[in-house]
């Protein structure tokens, strides 16, 4: 493993938005000026105490932060190993970690004077979080969502509509998250003068991976302080699910230079890595260029992007944030996969044992935790990012269990 020093962190990404060889800005020329404008605004505001105060106050009074760190005692006892703590991002306003980032980006949009925001969404959590913040700030909001996901996540589609957003079903390509992102990019290129694109994860062209990471890092900063206060020590391991990877980076980032803290990013194993029907680019993909950044991708030998499969719409994406690609190559984070079956089992287990119903995305992290915890000692500590709540998934779970609602 290469050590991640604080000096290295301070210079990553570099000025070109690169995390080692990954990241960068692979977009059409039309968008470069808008990205330059965003980059220089963010460089200024991220050093501005007034902006930070505004962001912190929104997180406290609108999102409901800090989110609790909760010890899952019954589940830990059943697994018979490490003490497991949940970082309760599911208790945020709108029910997931996504809102930390939309609050931050909406403040940037406000400072740029943009009256129209657009977003892509898979599971609908980022779409709901974007629609929510747009409603609060009186902005016009358009959410691009793959037609397949519109069907899978009908509850969130209705929530977005109630919030006044227009949900645009995307019928091109595989009709899932990647195609929604293509369509959002096309809208942005057309309406770049008056529109702010709220990207929902730590991917996309620079400076998005950096600013989304910064907004989500509140998760790890809180978890670090809470762990020290509650247990007197740093966690031994962190576990988070990885689609684009924003909740994982949010938890991991403030711990990266703490060498004693092991980190596990859990990708969507779908029907199993050996079947090819999954969404696990870090576990089974190769580096390439998509959606504005160089990163690990699910692609064929001709550089065409492959169809992905996951039980959870939010992880059903063939790419991943470039910082994760860098952390994988550095050996700092171990990337693993949980398949659909063990994910559903973990969903049921945690729901019944702790009275907490996780999102199916989150249940991937829980499935890996169920494998990891028994291999650790009882005085060791795992912090799992409970990144979202599962209400949105009950139709999917019922269907998989053969139950008609």
């Amino acid at each position: 493993m290469n050590q991640i020093t604080t000096d290295l962190l301070a210079t990553t990404p570099d000025e070109a938005g690169r995390f080692g060889d990954y990241g960068g800005r692979y977009v059409s020329e039309t968008l470069i000026a808008a990205l330059d404008e965003l980059d220089s605004l963010y460089n200024r505001l991220s050093q501005d105490p007034d902006f930070q105060r505004e962001f912190d106050e929104d997180l406290a009074h609108y999102v409901g932060r800090p989110s609790p760190l909760y010890e899952a005692k019954r589940w830990s006892e059943k697994l018979g190993g490490a003490r497991i703590f949940f970082k309760r991002e599911d208790l945020n306003h709108t029910g997931a970690h996504k809102v930390n980032n939309t609050v931050g980006q909406a403040l940037l949009a406000k400072h740029m004077g943009k009256k129209r925001v657009i977003a892509e969404t898979g599971a609908g959590q980022h779409g709901v979080a974007s629609a929510t913040i747009a409603a609060r700030l009186g902005m016009e909001c358009h959410v691009f969502m793959g037609e397949e996901d519109v069907y899978r996540q009908s509850l969130n589609v209705y929530r977005m509509k109630l919030l006044g957003a227009e949900v645009v079903p995307v019928t091109s390509g595989t009709r899932t998250l990647k195609d929604a992102m293509n369509e959002a990019m096309r809208d942005w290129v057309t309406n770049v003068d008056n529109t702010f694109y709220i990207i929902g994860t730590v991917a996309g062209p620079a400076p998005y991976p950096r600013l989304v990471r910064d907004f989500q890092s509140v998760i790890g900063r809180e978890a670090r302080a809470q762990s020290l206060a509650m247990t007197g020590q740093l966690p031994d391991a962190l576990v988070a699910c990885v689609g684009g990877g924003s909740n994982a980076i949010g938890l991991f980032y403030p711990f990266l230079s703490d060498d004693s803290v092991a980190m596990y990013g859990v990708e969507a194993g779908g029907d199993g890595l050996d079947t090819g029907r999954h969404a696990a680019p870090l576990s089974a993909g190769t580096p390439g260029v998509l959606h504005g950044n160089k990163t690990y991708l699910m692609q064929d030998e001709d550089g065409q992007i492959l169809h992905t499969h996951s039980v959870s719409a939010g992880l059903d994406y063939p790419g991943v944030g470039p910082e994760h690609s860098w952390l994988k190559d550095m050996g700092r984070v171990q990337y693993v996969a949980a398949d659909d079956e063990e994910t559903l089992a973990a969903f049921h287990e945690v729901t019944r044992t702790e009275g907490i119903m996780p999102a199916l995305e989150t249940a991937h992290a829980l499935a890996y935790t169920a494998r990891l915890a028994p291999t650790m000692d009882r005085d060791q500590i795992i912090v799992v990012n409970l990144s979202g709540r599962g209400d949105k998934d009950i139709n999917t779970v019922a269907r998989l269990d053969g139950i008609e609602l």
Partner: protein
């Protein structure tokens, strides 16, 4: 180091001498039929095309409007990949040594093939240039080394949003010609603003002597003529792709589709040639 084929520079020089503007049709390799592309390229040349722009199908063509997106999807369904597009260029080159051909596409298929391998195969196929939509100058260093070695031009886009200092940066790495994107939007959008085109082409000419071609939003003889007044070449893409897709959907034969495409190209040629010859601007 290989010699640059020089076809693009030669073609623009010939046109300038004749007081004419380049007509540059865009087609998606293998669309609407897998085997139509090479005969189509020849027919378009016969109908007045000066340079051929061959689109490389990609699963996620982010800069394309619906018309060309569907063209990419159709070609991918027929199994057409980057190596097939290169094979089409090689096939075309057997019977046409003079007409420049450029590939237009997205970074990932080229990244997937490897820059060195791409440059070698492209040179062997008789390709003249590459335009990678999602590789701005900041990301292009490694690719440019190989393209230069392979004797290939690298065509860059300039957009309505590109500030003058960036135009300078782009023209420092661009070779062949500069491709000005005439509107904010995707290919095939309908809001062409000729005054804005004139202004931006003038800005580009402040920084480079390279020819300037204009694309996105040119759909007929009239719009082609308006743009040809300001630029050295006009690119027509979506209109051609749409016409052929419509004819194919109606059950037209390959010969009928070729005829329809040639007829549209001849119209555009007529529009472009209808303008008064201008003094050489660059």
């Amino acid at each position: 180091m290989s010699e640059n084929s020089g076809r693009i520079a030669r073609r623009f020089a010939e046109l300038a001498e004749a007081g004419r503007k380049a007509v540059i049709p865009y087609l998606v390799a293998g669309d609407p039929m897998r085997d139509i592309s090479v005969p189509l390229m020849h027919r378009l040349v016969a109908a007045g095309a000066d340079i051929i722009e061959l689109g490389v199908p990609f699963s996620d063509p982010m800069a394309e409007g619906p018309t060309i997106q569907r063209g990419h999807e159709r070609a991918l369904d027929k199994g057409v990949r980057l190596r097939d597009a290169l094979a089409m260029v090689a096939e075309f080159r057997k019977d046409d040594q003079d007409t420049p051909v450029l590939l237009m596409g997205y970074a990932n298929p080229v990244v997937g093939m490897g820059f060195a391998k791409f440059a070698d195969q492209a040179r062997d196929a008789g390709l003249d240039a590459l335009l990678t939509v999602d590789m701005p100058p900041e990301e292009v260093e490694a690719l440019n080394v190989e393209l230069k070695r392979g004797g290939l031009d690298n065509i860059f886009l300039v957009a309505p949003t590109t500030p003058p200092e960036r135009v300078e940066k782009i023209t420092e790495v661009a070779t062949g010609f500069v491709y000005y994107v005439s509107l904010k939007g995707v290919t095939g959008a309908g809001h062409l603003d000729v005054d804005s085109v004139a202004e931006h082409v003038a800005t580009i000419r402040r920084f480079t002597d390279l020819p300037v071609a204009v694309g996105f939003g040119i759909k007929d003889a009239e719009s082609a003529a308006l743009v040809a007044r300001e630029a050295d070449g006009v690119v027509v893409g979506s209109a051609l792709v749409q016409l052929m897709a419509d004819r194919a959907a109606d059950g037209a034969s390959e010969a009928e589709i070729l005829e329809a495409a040639a007829s549209l190209l001849a119209d555009i040629r007529g529009g472009v040639d209808s303008i008064e010859p201008l003094q050489a601007a660059g």
